[in-house]
Structures are given as C-alpha cells and as structure tokens.
C-alpha cells in the first residue's frame, strides 16, 4: 500500500510499504477513507520529537471502513464505518476505567523508553514516535487498529467524512481544553493559537457557556477564521498589540478567568525572547519553545486556570513558576482522553451545534502528502487544515 513516511526532518515521502495485518486478536484493519495532517505532526516534520526513525508511517487522525477483524473482536465487522481515536487504549486498566484514556497502562510496547524520558509512560499513539509505541500511523491506504472494540466509533452514514473525521483528535482536544477551564457564567477565556485545535477550543468555550472568548495569534487569516468560523468575540494579533496590556484592558484589569495554550513547543515570539528560545532549542539546550505558555500564565487572573493542550516534549526554560505559585493558578493539561469525548461530541455534530468541517482549507490526494506538510508548515495559501484522501 501507499503510506506517508517520515524520512528525517523536513523530509516526508509517500512510499510503498507492506499492507497491515492483524497482529493481535483484538485488532481491526481499516481501509482509510479520510485522514488529516495534525499540527502536532508538524513537530515530527520539523524534527523536534525524539525517537523517530526513518520509514515511520505518520498520521493519527484517520477514519475508514473495516476490512478485517481479529478473532476476539465482537463489536466491529467488515464494512463498518468508523473514526479512530489517536490514543491507543485497552479499556481494562485502571486509567481506562477512570476515563484517562490517553494514559492507558497497556498500550505502549516501548513503555520503558517513555519512562526514562517522562517518568511514567502515557498510552501508545498512532504514528507518533517510538517512545509512544512505534505504531504505524493512518496517513496511508490502510491501517491496523489495536483494541478495535474499545476505540473506534461507528458513525452514521448520513454524516460526511469531513464532519466526523476530527472526532479522532482535534475536536475532542479543543473541547477538553475548554472543559478543563471549568467555565462558569460570565467567564472570559483567552486562547493562544488559532490553529485547528485553537479553533475548536474557541468553539468549545462557546459551547460550554463562556461569556467572552478572546483569540490570540499572529496570522491574519487564522484570526479571521477564529472570528467568523469559531465565533471568537475579540482577536488579538500579538505582533501588533501588547497582549498582556490588551487582556488587562479587556477584563477590567483582572486578566482572563482561564487561559488556553493551543500552541505548543514551536511557539513564536516577537523580539529578543523569540531569538533566545530559537537559539536554545536549536542547540538542544531546551526541548520546547514556550513563549505562548509563559504569556498565558502571566496573563491569567489571580486564582484562574491555565489549560495546556499544545504539545510539549521535554525540559524547558524560563518557566514562570513564581507567577504560577504566588497567584494561586491552577494548571490543567493532558493529551486528550478522546474516547471519553467522541460520543457526546458526535451528538453535538448531529444536533447541528457545530460543523467541524469549517476549518478545512485544503483537500488533497494522499499521494501529495509531502506538499501538504510543506504548505501547512509554512502557513502558505491560507492553510489551516489539510485533509488527505487515499
């Protein structure tokens, strides 16, 4: 089959690889009908995620039709149309039973590597490094899905791929970001980053009843989509406006009740801070560039919540712990527990509360995946989300 492979930093190639087979009795094999490039795939593309190997198949946002199931699979059969959550979860361990699906204790065969780097291991993830399992991803014609009775969600035939595909990651991730804010009536929520996850965080903050949602980015078309597509009340371009000052002005000097970081480890910053972080990251003196997170912490109102869903990988510098501690802030974070959110969010889609396809800007063939990564990475051609069709 054809599959999108990582061949080193900034080098993506669609290659011939063997077709996936059933490896465990609980597996299913899907024929992929739609798959997408995630913002977090760009961290792999740019070479910032450790434990990648040449030839790794990428992709953790995908859906398709079941073509084969393992002998222990009961709920799925060939022909079923399903969306697959990006964390791989067994459904039996304590974490799964407690709705902490992205922390499944049994799905990472390379748990010992993750333990060395992170202390304890999170769940395995499709197409996202060997530290997180070494599972082939779904930017391909076919994919093998472990624990097929646990993760994949059957979707109604009357909903198009584009409406349900993002249940695999970014819609639940954005939703969890907003949910972690504990939004109350009258709250103001500020969202750093108007990429796909940021857009869903904005839309979800709306769904969860935030009174004012403020979106922060530097790319005009993304700020426009935040206003028009995700319904942000106010947008701030941080290259033109002092964000901390602006947020104070907009909130009577208090700061937003909750701040969402939907940016992650490749954050940009104007001026000296930006150069400082770039230099340190390129010399591997820090794993992540965190100016967005720094600003989110500094901006948050006393006693407020900072919700982090942007991806971070390692050990970082100039983290404003003093601000966090002295001002009683709460940090909430995590890889999304997608399994927990898929059904309720599907319900929202069916009710017509939201149509997640508003973020799609590019629909291209799987064969052209390399160009898709390039356009998305450089934010060319007003690119916000690339969907690949095998």
């Amino acid at each position: 089959m054809r599959a999108t492979c990582w061949e080193g930093a900034k080098h993506i190639k669609v290659e011939d690889v063997p077709d996936p087979k059933i490896l465990n009795d609980g597996d299913a094999v899907l024929r992929i009908t739609s798959t997408a490039i995630c913002g977090s795939d760009l961290h792999l593309f740019n070479g910032f995620m450790p434990t990648m190997e040449h030839g790794d198949v990428l992709g953790h946002e995908f859906m398709g039709e079941v073509v084969e199931v393992g002998k222990k699979v009961k709920k799925l059969k060939a022909g079923d149309r399903v969306v697959v959550p990006f964390p791989i979860a067994c459904g039996q361990c304590w974490s799964c039973k407690n709705d902490l699906w992205s922390l499944c204790e049994n799905s990472n065969p390379n748990a010992w590597i993750a333990e060395k780097m992170l202390g304890h291991t999170p769940a395995g993830v499709f197409g996202y490094s060997h530290m997180l399992g070494g599972f082939a991803g779904g930017q391909a014609e076919y994919a093998r899905v472990p624990f097929a009775d646990v993760g994949p969600l059957k979707v109604p035939t009357d909903l198009s791929d584009e409406k349900v595909l993002f249940l695999s990651d970014i819609f639940p991730t954005g939703y969890m970001a907003a949910e972690m804010c504990g939004i109350k009536k009258g709250d103001t929520v500020a969202v750093w980053g108007c990429g796909p996850v940021g857009q869903f965080a904005i839309a979800s903050a709306r769904l969860l009843g935030a009174e004012t949602v403020i979106a922060i980015d530097r790319i005009p078309y993304r700020l426009r989509i935040a206003r028009e597509g995700a319904a942000a009340d106010i947008t701030i371009n941080y290259e033109e406006t002092n964000v901390l000052e602006a947020l104070k002005e907009l909130t009577g000097g208090r700061g937003p009740d909750a701040c969402i970081d939907a940016v992650g480890l490749e954050a940009h910053a104007p001026g000296l801070q930006g150069y400082y972080d770039r230099a340190k990251q390129s010399m591997r003196l820090e794993s992540d560039r965190i100016p967005a997170l720094r600003q989110a912490i500094m901006a948050c109102r006393n006693g407020g919540t900072v919700s982090i869903v942007g991806v971070y990988s390692g050990f970082d510098d100039k983290f404003p712990l003093g601000s966090l501690m002295n001002r009683s802030l709460t940090i909430r974070t995590g890889q999304c527990h997608v399994h927990k959110y898929m059904k309720p969010l599907l319900q929202h889609i069916q009710n017509g509360d939201i149509d997640p396809s508003f973020i799609i800007t590019h629909r291209i063939k799987l064969e052209d995946a390399a160009a898709g990564y390039d356009i998305f990475n450089h934010k060319e051609d007003e690119c916000l989300k690339v969907v690949l069709q095998p």
Partner: protein, 360 residues
C-alpha cells in the same frame, strides 16, 4: 553541627507511623539485611577527610597548570623541549592540570580526578619519550622525565589508597537516616533487582495466574524453558547474551496464598538466585505486585563486577516482564506495535511477512 542535629532528629524523634511504614516496606521486600546500606553515592558527599598529600597534589596541579598555560615556552626550555613545537601542546596540558587541580581541591572525594592525574602523567611521559630524538638538551629532558616519574609514583600511590578505602566507615558525623526508605542495590556481589506494578484485578486472580508456570513463557521474555521437576521444584533455562544460556534448579521455599511466593536456587546451578513475588491487595480491588530477584553469578568478584556494569539491562528486563504479566491479566494478550512485532530495530511501518516469520 547541623548534620548531627539532623541525625538526632531522624533517629530520636521518628514518629510511630513512619517507623511502622518502614518496617512494613522492609518486610514486604524481604531484603531487610540489605536495604540498610546507604547507596555509596549518597555517602560520598559526606565527611571523609582528604589527606594532606592529596591536597598538595591538587595545589601542585594548579601551580603546574598556571605555569604551563601562561609560560609554555619557559616550561619547554626547562624540560629540554623545542619551544616552537611544544608551545600549543603545553598550553593544553596546562588547562588539563588546572581543571584536575580545581576538581581535586573542591570535590569531597576526588577519586576520579586522582586517576585523571595518573592519566595526565602517562600522557606527559609519552610526550617526553617521543621528544627523545628531537630534544634540544638531553640532560634537561632526563631530569624532567625523572621529575614526572616521581610525581606519577605519588599519584598512583594516592589513587590506589583511595580506591582501597572506597567504602566509608560508619561515621557518627555522616547524616545517615536509618528511618528513610532506601532502594536496595548491590551487596557483596549480589545483584538485587526489583520491579513493582499495580494490576487492576483482585489479588486472588493475580496470585493464581502467577501460580501457573505454564504462563511464564508468555511474559518472561528471556525464559527459554521451564520444566517442573518435582513438588515445588523446577528447572529454569534463561537466554543470556550472545547466544548463551544459564540453567539452574529452583525450589519454592515459602508460599502464602495471595501474599507471597519465595524461591531459591539449588546448589549446582550456574548462578545463585533467590527471589520473591509479593502480592498486596489495595483499594479498588487492585493488586500491587512486587518482583524481587537476587542474582549472584558464579565467578567471584569479577563476575559480580561485570554483572553490576550490566545491571541496568536486567532491571529493565525484569520490569518489562512484570509489565507483560500485568497486560496478560488485564487484557489477555501482549499488545504488539509495528515496531515491536519484529526483533531488532524496525520502523513504525507494517512488518513484512518474512520479517514476522523470522521473529517466530
């Protein structure tokens, strides 16, 4: 003074609850004779006076280093070396001496840096020996060589002395805290490995699964075979590196249902092994399982040294085995990824059928 105070607080005012916890932990691990030893790297930072000779060698390094670094030509002239050729090299040696000297004077136990001095001496001697043919003044070269040899002798004497007195004596002035929990390491050449996990199943189920040796090959990756040879006895064959294997007979010496199983190897095997698996029921009908294994390879202290160097590998193996044990009970099978389904390095892409067959 501060250290003594800390010592008093730790032993004198230990609360009942902390003592209770400590005792429980030790009994559960069953290695109470071994956990008492403070891991060496903790002790190294306390006490143990550096003797005067070590101090003076440190200062000697500083002096020599300064001279070599700032006046390399003078040093070359004095040693009978060519000034032009050796200026840069001597400056580098000077830097080396400065670093070694500073480390010897500032570190509480500069064992490594003392050996570093010996290495430096060897480099100096080699330099002087190479200069034999091109020397400007053979007399000065010979004097310099003799001087370096004398210092080398002192350095070796000091380093050996340090190595010999490596284990610090029990000293009232060290801040030893007998009440705190400490991880077992290696005692008298015996490698103590342990791994612990929590399984989301009731203790009876977990214990029963362990009781059945048929299950062992499913989660012990390096188990070649296990044969039941009698009541509570089994013959173990474990795969070792480079295609070798290790075999021994073991017998169960203690078996308390839902609590503990302990075993020990019988004489005549290739290694001496004792081990235990302990089960503890915790809230939510879960079970903590702790696997401990003490291995003493035959082959005396050298075998033990080698074992220690590689102990990181067996420790990871032990915890990976325990992780698979947990998976078998919770999920019923060991989950494979595209990379882990075949042996060796393999990208995260579906394996070929031939690769799969090679693995089985």
């Amino acid at each position: 003074m501060g250290i003594e105070l800390h010592h008093e607080t730790a032993t004198g005012n230990g609360t009942t609850s902390s003592v209770g916890k400590r005792t429980e932990l030790r009994t559960r691990r069953g290695v109470e004779t071994t956990v008492k030893d403070v891991p060496r790297h903790y002790s190294e930072t306390h006490g143990h006076e550096k003797n005067a000779l070590v101090q003076s060698l440190g200062w000697f390094s500083i002096g020599l280093g300064l001279t070599e670094f700032f006046a390399p030509r003078a040093v070359a002239r004095l040693s009978g070396l060519d000034e032009e050729d050796y200026e840069g090299l001597l400056r580098a040696y000077g830097l080396r001496e400065l670093i070694a000297g500073a480390a010897i004077l500032s570190r509480p136990r500069p064992t490594y840096w003392m050996w570093n001095r010996v290495l430096g001496d060897a480099i100096d001697l080699a330099t002087l020996a190479r200069a034999r043919h091109s020397a400007n003044d053979r007399g000065r070269l010979a004097t310099a060589t003799a001087a370096v040899l004398a210092v080398t002798a002192l350095d070796i004497a000091c380093s050996v002395d340090y190595a010999r007195h490596k284990t610090p004596s029990v000293d009232q002035h060290t801040s030893r805290d007998e009440e705190s929990y400490k991880s077992p390491e290696m005692v008298d050449g015996t490698q103590i490995l342990s791994a612990i996990t929590t399984i989301n199943k009731p203790v009876a189920e977990v214990y029963a699964f362990w009781k059945n040796p048929q299950n062992y090959p499913r989660f012990m990756e390096n188990l070649d075979s296990i044969k039941i040879t009698g009541n509570n006895q089994a013959h173990w064959k474990i795969k070792a590196p480079v295609g070798l294997s290790v075999e021994w007979d073991a017998t169960v010496i203690n078996d308390v249902p839902n609590e503990v199983i302990e075993w020990r190897s019988l004489d005549g095997g290739e290694i001496h092994n004792t081990g235990s698996v302990r089960f503890r029921s915790i809230s939510g009908d879960r079970t903590e399982v702790e696997l401990t294994s003490q291995i003493k390879p035959k082959g005396g202290p050298l075998g033990a040294k080698i074992a220690k160097v590689f102990s990181a590998v067996p420790k990871t193996q032990l915890s990976n085995d325990l992780r698979r044990f947990k998976q078998l009970i919770e999920v019923g099978e060991i989950i494979k990824s595209d990379a882990s389904a075949v042996t060796g390095m393999h990208p995260a892409r579906p394996p070929r059928r031939s690769e799969m067959e090679a693995t089985q």
